[in-house]
Subunit: 464 residues, 2 copies
């Protein structure tokens, strides 16, 4: 017994020693601690974001702002002394937002603040005047009888729920994406919905809407929450609600516009062909300055990489920052990236993105090979002092753009921040720099900096 | 000694008894408690406000909304069975807001959200293109040399401070009222300022601006806080800031428009000529639904009076609700009221208004004759359970409209609510029903209900 126990203990302590030596040696641990301190004390991410929102601002794909953002991103990466910086072009069609005029005509005339959903068609210069039919949620609209909306405007008033994970978005966004086509199938001549948002500002939330082949394309708008409340209150009077809606948006599918992925990297010292991929998206909607969506991601990925590039030596693997084009209109840049880099994705050792949330990261999870988990867990202990817990579920996939990358088998790392307030500003004109808490940004940048260094410096094979 | 002590005790208890009997007898105290319970459990104030914001909405003097509000107010007071309801007309000139187009042209082109200050002139259809000169506050603008702004746009970026009393407003509002005239005197061709507001929404705060005879009238606008931040950030680059501003506002001083005070009362059973005056203002700015400014006041004054009118007997004095016309453009209704009722102001026994704040009332003070203070103090004890403390400073004056009434010698009562969030929505499109907390409204309505009953039922002479 005693011998067996001794042997077991010896084995355990040896394996612990071996594991520690293999995954994170003392020097690497010290390096992580040092990088954490650097990032926590640095204004770099905030300064990058301030520069982006001041010098560029809104950057919807195909606009002058997008062109400026592409130039700005390259210049910034070069100024940060990335080893390589390049672009990969994508094309899209033109969409021009135009204006929305929306008002209740009866029973009680009132103007309504609404915003065109992304890539909505217009109503024509005359606008439309019609009765509004109210549905409490998208399912109720779906259940409406065929032809029951002929000549009418459909209005879905479902309100998104606030949640730390942002899970309310999933329940609400279906109407934004498909509401117009469902309403049109039943004869509606326009589609209105309560914004997918948790705030109480009179600023509509835009975001992509989709049409269906063979179904008439109708104008689609989102009302601000206070305006949706007011309209619902008018419906409570049980009188017909007559409405005027004019949307001057133009969807020019025959006019091509260009965007580009902007890619920069610091080259690995030992395995330059192995890529740690950090993603964010370059484009924003056209109504705010895209500080949060996804300027935060751009700033964090660039700052994290810069902090590592300032070390005396490059880590073993390459760290690549990909600022994706046209995420908002359908992951255009990510599709292009996967297509162009198809043969090299097997050398993308792990991928992470930031495209959600405003608050501090509270959870880290991965989608990696089972054998890599022990090393990941060891790294995760380094994040614990920052309030980040490790969720060992190991089923993470890439976020947004990176979802297409990890779908191709690339391992994923995913960091969950407090998203409680994200949908207050998401896709609105209120997505501006003042919404960003510099302390939270420093902290989150520290997490990504540590992750990128760990992934690039470790010998762990994350693949499944 | 024992006799003296006994005599003193007897005297004290007698005087206490006399005082109690004089100010608030047991029945009155019970009535106050009962009214408090009624108001706390009642949705009436909220329902009135929901009706106003749903069925009327914005109501700037002279607009159709204002006309609807005048009709709505009379109908509502009649529905609440006020004993008398009437209007007293005022006239003003026409002002049409029009639109604002504002954008930075250089060094970094960006659109800017701005709103015309109330009664600003326009720029003409061509708009103006000019360099912007930045001042940190109004004093800095005042200190600028004569002629130094010739052909330029002046911009004051001072940010209002948040405070429970709203005192930050006083420091910030000077630029809104007089900034345009001061800038014009120094040669400026337009005036821009950071909104007088504490929020971070891209919604400018409007509010009256004044011109000066003999000084050129220039267009005056307020930028939202995030836009002012962005512009200040552009100035940090130390490059000339070139701007385009187009304001299509029209100030038609030759076109008369009408408004009206709407007045309703429940007639006193014993001293009908003695008036307890409760004020709020009927007009709002044109950009929100005026839920807070001053729909809250309208709803509270009407609900409080209605709660008292539901008692089996009318209180001794008349309770009069005055919904003042054109407060926002210069206390027009209050001026008219003081003028029309000049001879009867001596019978206005006390006046109170609600035109500030969103949160709960935390303080009560008065401006009454010294001899009335003991009775007021006794009443104030009834408010203590609602978290309202009595401030015995006794220097209160009327708020807003009622300031003109109390200036004529009418005693004042003043209730201070938590105003921390008031200037988040003040004079913006975000002044909508959702900002109102129904519980706070019930509580504050209870306070005014109790005050009105006390003032109308007591025998106290509040006059100085």
């Amino acid at each position: 017994m005693r011998n067996l126990r001794f042997a077991l203990l010896a084995l355990l302590s040896m394996s612990a020693f071996v594991a520690r030596a293999e995954f994170l040696n003392k020097e690497q641990q010290q390096q992580l601690t040092s990088l954490q301190e650097t990032a926590i004390q640095s204004d770099l991410a905030y300064d990058i974001l301030e520069s982006l929102t001041t010098e560029v601002g809104a950057r919807m794909i195909g606009t002058k702002g997008d062109q400026r953002a592409i130039a700005w991103s390259q210049a910034k990466m070069k100024a940060l002394e990335f080893d390589k910086v390049w672009t990969e072009e994508v094309t899209h069609y033109q969409w021009i937002r135009g204006d929305v005029e929306a008002k209740v005509l009866a029973p009680f005339p009132q103007p309504v603040v609404a915003i065109a959903l992304g890539e909505s068609v217009g109503t024509g210069e005359q606008g439309i005047q019609a009765e509004v039919v109210h549905f409490n949620d998208f399912d109720a609209l779906k259940a409406a009888e065929a032809g029951s909306l002929t000549g009418k405007i459909a209005f879905v008033s479902y309100r998104m729920e606030r949640h730390i994970t942002g899970k309310g978005y999933g329940k609400a966004v279906g109407a934004r994406v498909s509401g117009a086509q469902v309403a049109a199938e039943k004869g509606a001549i326009a589609f209105m919905m309560r914004s997918v948002g948790t705030d109480d500002n009179r600023a509509g939330h835009t975001g992509i809407t989709r049409y269906k082949d063979g179904v008439k394309r109708i104008a689609a708008v989102a009302l601000s929450n206070p305006d949706a409340d007011m309209l619902v209150n008018q419906f409570k009077r049980n009188k017909p609600v007559e409405f005027f809606l004019k949307v001057t948006a133009v969807r020019n599918e025959k006019v091509a516009v260009k965007g580009a992925n902007v890619i920069g990297e610091i080259t690995g010292s030992q395995y330059p062909e192995q890529i740690v991929a950090l993603g964010a998206h370059l484009d924003s909607w056209d109504v705010g300055t895209g500080a949060v969506d996804d300027g935060l991601g751009m700033a964090m990925m660039m700052a994290a990489t810069s902090h590592i590039s300032n070390l005396p030596e490059r880590p073993k693997r390459t760290i690549r920052v990909i600022l994706f084009a046209g995420e908002e209109v359908g992951l255009l840049g990510a599709k292009e990236y996967v297509n162009v880099h198809k043969d090299k994705l097997k050398n993308h050792v792990i991928a992470a993105e930031w495209d959600f949330g405003l608050g501090r990261i509270y959870e880290f999870k991965t989608g990696v090979g089972a054998e890599a988990l022990a090393g990941v867990r060891e790294f995760a202990q380094q994040l614990a002092p920052l309030g980040v817990s490790f969720n060992p579920v190991n089923n993470a996939q890439g976020q947004s753009d990176m979802s297409l990358v990890t779908k191709e088998g690339v391992p994923a790392a995913r960091f969950a921040p407090d998203g409680s307030t994200y949908f207050d500003v998401h896709h609105t004109m209120n997505d501006t720099l003042d919404k960003v808490n510099p302390d939270d940004l420093r902290q989150n940048t520290a997490v990504y900096t540590m992750f990128a260094y760990f992934a690039a410096q470790t010998g762990i094979d994350f693949r499944k």
